[in-house]
């Protein structure tokens, strides 16, 4: 009632209903892989929620502060205010540790979900025209997520993150000519500077999140403005979207995913310890801890620093230090390649048309091979960042492992990429449905170059040109309007057009755009609704029974009341007719 009136009042003033109606009717595809981006979105929401709580207690300052609290080994110790307040958050603030750990887990899952989402977009070719802009925004958000993850990891000013910050500062300083200036500019002086924590704090809670929120809005705005991409399939073309509407089905599903994300993150935050800064101790420039790793999403940089040989040389008297190549050049090349990929692929394929139907990963063996190779490369680097942990656990000398990883990082990506390429080609050429069904003959055929069976490059055509015996378009009048639906009898598939139109011709043309070459027939009346599921049927049955019961009850009560009134009237026959009328109306109101 109230929401209805509120909505009406808002609509009167802002004219929201056309917009809302269009937004609520937006169709989202049902495939699960389209929800990976939402995982990142909801992790970000969890980050915002928990992060706000943390700012209430975190003291972003390098100044001295005496910790007094439950953690005995640090009780009475003078540390930086940032560290002391983090330990206080973890030991003395109610729910502080839960929120802090959930925040950290959410950060790890946030970046992981972004990487998965990126892989999905990449392997299905969803970055192609007209979605290059959203790809660029997405890659930018990945870099911002990495930056914010690193500043957040460094903010507690503990020994472990201090070592990481020292390494990053050295990497920046390794840039010839400008490196030392850049580092001093960012930190406001030499490395353990007093401005370090406040500046990182502002970047972490204000600058980067604000930019991220703006970019997420833009990302989603473009997604709504453009039609959603979808996988090819029966009834799916470049011009339609098959799936669920935003309201009610997709919104509910998305909210369910949000609940899942919160549940998993808070469960981890409560059950699994992350970044125990009280054990690490406060950062002192003269101290170190070992093994020291960054969070997983920057570990590939750490791994590259460990694996790269210590090459240094001079150009015109200027030293080019060792960390430049694995630290600066590799990171730069990585993100440049990510930014440039859609344009490079378009140039190479000379393909300027728009694509709304996605590739299956196998449709593009080169892309698959390059992607798998790159992912393997970064995975090996990430594992190499943990070489000292692995060395202790398996009791192998750490330098032997280092040599092994130096070989693996070059060989393994090539092998994995080649294998992915061959499997994709074999799947595309043969008739195996999945990797499990591939035969050796398929693979052997894939290794050869020029055999191209007809229909091998059918991924680009609008609809699969198979026989369409069981397919038809049904159109029917509904009041003044016409509706239509697509039906595939063989696959038991029925897709109803989302918009009603004014005439039969309009319905026919809409159906022709969506399903070219499918026969159209006019059917009498609306087709029967699909049989309800057991739960819905039971609910409906109970609803009917309850309605009937309440009607019966109301009728009984009414009869009883009437009988009583008649008895009363009989008992007071002298009463004037006006009062009797009044009594009856009064009785009716109660």
């Amino acid at each position: 009632m109230i929401t209805d009136r509120l909505a009406r009042a808002l609509d009167d003033r802002l004219r929201l209903s056309p917009l809302t109606r269009r937004a609520l009717a937006k169709i989202f595809p049902d495939h699960w892989s389209f929800m990976l981006g939402e995982l990142a979105l909801y992790s970000f929401v969890a980050l915002l929620l928990t992060g706000v709580y943390l700012t209430f207690f975190f003291d972003a300052s390098n100044g001295d502060r005496v910790y007094r609290g439950d953690y005995a080994p640090l009780d009475g110790a003078t540390t930086s205010a940032a560290y002391a307040s983090t330990v206080r958050l973890s030991w003395d603030v109610r729910a502080g540790l839960l929120i802090r750990q959930t925040h950290h887990w959410a950060a790890l899952v946030f970046v992981a979900a972004i990487v998965l989402h990126l892989a999905r977009i990449f392997f299905t070719g969803a970055f192609r025209k007209p979605r290059e802009l959203n790809w660029l925004i997405g890659v930018t958000m990945l870099t911002l997520a990495l930056a914010n993850g690193f500043t957040g990891y460094s903010l507690p000013d503990d020994l472990l993150s201090g070592v990481g910050l020292r390494i990053l500062t050295s990497v920046v300083e390794s840039i010839p000519l400008v490196g030392a200036w850049l580092a001093a500019l960012a930190l406001g002086g030499e490395f353990p500077s007093d401005a370090m924590i406040p500046r990182m704090f502002v970047a972490h809670v204000l600058l980067v999140p604000a930019v991220l929120v703006a970019l997420i809005s833009l990302h989603l705005g473009i997604l709504v403005r453009q039609k959603h991409s979808q996988f090819p399939g029966p009834g799916r073309t470049e011009h339609n979207v098959v799936g669920s509407r935003l309201w009610p089905s997709y919104a509910l599903r998305s909210l369910a995913l949000f609940a899942w994300v919160l549940a998993v993150l808070f469960a981890l935050g409560g059950l699994v310890q992350i970044n125990p800064v009280w054990l690490y101790g406060p950062f002192e420039p003269a101290e170190a801890t070992s093994p020291a790793q960054p969070d997983w999403y920057v570990a590939w940089g750490d791994g590259a620093l460990r694996l790269f040989p210590p090459w240094e040389f001079r150009i015109a008297g200027h030293l080019v230090p060792g960390p430049l190549f694995p630290g600066v050049v590799l990171g730069g090349v990585t993100f440049l390649a990510l930014y440039a990929w859609p344009f490079a692929e378009r140039l190479r394929a000379k393909d300027r048309s728009a694509h709304h139907l996605l590739d299956r990963p196998r449709d593009h063996p080169v892309r698959l091979g390059v992607g798998v190779g790159a992912l393997t490369f970064y995975a090996v680097l990430t594992v190499a960042a943990g070489d000292d942990i692995i060395a202790r656990l398996v009791r192998v000398p750490v330098y032997d492992l280092l040599s092994l990883f130096r070989v693996l990082v070059l060989v393994l990506p090539l092998l994995a990429g080649l294998l992915a390429f061959l499997v994709a080609r074999a799947l595309r050429r043969g008739d195996a449905a999945g990797i499990g069904e591939l035969t050796r003959a398929d693979l052997r055929r894939a290794a050869h170059r020029s055999i191209r069976p007809p229909g091998a490059d059918s991924g680009e055509s609008e609809t699969p040109a198979r026989d369409r015996s069981g397919e038809r378009i049904e159109m029917w009048p509904e009041g003044d309007l016409w509706r239509w639906r697509y039906r595939d009898a063989d696959r038991h598939l029925v897709i109803t057009g989302s918009r009603a139109v004014l005439s039969e011709e309009e319905a026919a043309s809409a159906a022709r755009v969506a399903y070219p070459g499918v026969d159209r027939v006019v059917v009498p009346g609306p087709p029967p609704a699909p049989p309800p599921g057991p739960v819905r049927a039971a609910l409906r049955g109970w609803g009917r029974a309850a309605a009937a019961g309440s009607l019966l009850l109301a009728a009984l009560l009414n009869r009883r009341r009437d009988r009583r009134r008649q008895e009363r009237e009989r008992a007071e026959p002298a009463a004037p007719p006006e009062t009797a009328d009044k009594a009856s109306t009064g009785g009716g109101r109660t």
Partner: protein
Amino acid sequence: MRRPRPARVRPDLHPRRALALGAVLVLAAGPVALAPARSAADSAAPAAAAPPAGDRGTQLYLEHCASCHGERGQGAQRGPSLIGVGPASVDFQVSTGRMPVSREVQQAPRRDPVFSAADISALVDHVSSFGGGGPKVPQVAPGNPGSGREIFAANCAPCHGATGAGAALTDGWVAPPLYDSTAVQVAEAVRVGPGLMPVFPNQVLDDRQLDDLAAYVQRLRDERLDRGGNPLGRLGPLAEGLVAWLAALGLLVAAARWLGRRAAE
């Protein structure tokens, strides 16, 4: 919600720990009784002061140690000399189960001790009878974990890790985890410097500081310090990243698949 301040009690007195504790007590009492006698005897005639061959310590030494370290601890091809290593070293190596070893290894791993506490003290006595002095088994008093934490961060964390979980060193050596060490073993290691570990004599860390350090290391193995839940072996961010990928993201992707499959029905 102030938790009661955890007192310095060992949570579970495992039989083996009880054994080690017994060894500590015996050792703590032993040198006091022996000290005046030994200072009187001096090192002029250590061989003369050696107990007879029927002694338990001698018997154990001849059975388990002499084949590598020599009959009089003079050392051989397969084992170093034991003259002058000191009682602390012998007690550390034997009570942590690192000695005796059945074959030559670069760094013997920690095991359950082979001998009983009484046997260990007999062995210690026998080896110290070879002469040469060396650090005594330290007597550890209760210390202040707060100042112990600072000593640990400055001197121990670079190799054993700030969490005490241990780390790899060069050349296949390992700085082991500290969670099984008793206070006396920690103090012995500090004074003796086994393996690649540097020696911290009295001039570097005095006995007060050693007590504080041992108190902090005992504190470090306390499970109550893992206040946030499962510590994942205190291995740091990469183990956490693995959990984030496998547990969290695995579950969430499964949830998304489930939701997507339900929608397609």
